[in-house]
Symmetry: C2
Subunit: 194 residues, 2 copies
DNA sequence: GCCGTTCTGGACTGGTCTGTCAAGCACCGG
DNA sequence: CCGGTGCTTGACAGACCAGTCCAGAACGGC
């Protein structure tokens, strides 16, 4: 044992995540990262390897956090259907800054999934995580009779994930909360109706 | 008058578009562009100003082309509802390479809409273009009795656009054609039903 | 065929990028 | 309180970046 690190690894990853989330991978320089993380250059390279590794770690953290948040929100309501509704409307309810920041998961897919196999792999596991969460809640909704028994859980889960991603893109494109609510409302009719 | 340009402006924009589309804005170097366009450095700067201007022109061209293609496809079928279905299933029917390349419009929004006002502006006009096209076809479908009269054209149009963007993100994330078809199928139930 | 204009190609510039090196300093165990 | 581990800091290296400059070549008008 010798001198311990002066910073909290978890904390600096979190700060790096915020920068990558805001600006994307390519547009973020190491300088940006170091300033936000509040650590020296060498500390960053010693601790994380390089910019790409740091990004991957930040992305993993983002996925874990936002995945957990999704699952939490889906279980927050008494009614599964209402929980789904709240998740879809959630994007519309965010602050303009939040809507503009968008979703780091979506950004990573669009910017990097084609050229970085590890990002692609994280994208796939993230998809499975979210789909599974939605699938469970749809099943629950079916069990409670809130959606018709003919609804296919798997397909609907996939659809809901795609809808959230569509909402995120629309939000970044500058859609109004009203437009986002419209999208959520129509999406929900495919669950409610038969 | 003097010496005319040796290249076709339209053709080189098209080639630049392909590169930006494939790699994104930041990840594309001027070298990449010049190689693909087959012209000299100075020719590019004289003709287009700088990298950003060239990108904006390429993006505009992409929007015009893909917007026209959307409108065309929406009118290709006898039945408006089937046309919508064909558009949604279209993403699933693309080759793996096409699905991986994704949609330049979506990429521009995710990568640049926050920091470049002109990209944001193009994003908004693109949204209006697509929404209007979808709105028209939904109205047509209503007129023909293919969807219920209670369906709101505007909301549904917004929803359909969001669905296409969701499909594009999912496709880039590596979703199988089957998963994409699932998403399209569920999305369509919100039109067909009741 | 010649002149003026404009396009072309290559060399170049200043700046920024990611990643490394080396020197010194802070901490912990003994 | 001392030795050694390893963290920190600032300077640095090499590559690459967007964009400019310049000399020369190709073309149209006359």
């Amino acid at each position: 044992m010798a001198r311990p690190k002066e910073f909290d690894r978890d904390e600096v990853v979190k700060r790096a995540m915020a920068v990558f989330w805001e600006k994307g991978y390519e547009a973020t320089s190491t300088e940006d990262l170091l300033r936000a993380m509040g650590i020296g250059r060498q500390s960053m390279y010693d601790t994380f390897g390089d910019k790409r590794r740091l990004y991957l770690e930040a992305l993993q953290r983002y996925q874990a956090e936002s995945g957990a948040q999704l699952i939490e929100r889906l279980q927050a309501e008494e009614s599964p259907l209402q929980a789904i509704e709240q998740v879809l409307l959630g994007v519309a309810a965010e602050t303009p800054a939040e809507r503009a920041r968008g979703c780091m998961y979506v950004s990573s897919i669009v910017e990097l999934a084609q050229k970085d196999p590890e990002v692609a792999s994280l994208a796939k596991s993230g998809t499975i995580l979210c789909e599974t969460a939605f699938e469970r809640i749809v099943r629950e909704a079916k069990r409670k009779g809130e959606v018709d028994r003919s609804v296919d859980e798997r397909k609907t889960a996939r659809f809901l994930l795609a809808t959230v991603q569509g909402l995120r893109v629309m939000a970044k494109a500058g859609a109004t909360p009203e437009a986002l609510r419209d999208i959520a409302a129509v999406a929900l009719t495919s669950l409610k109706s038969r």
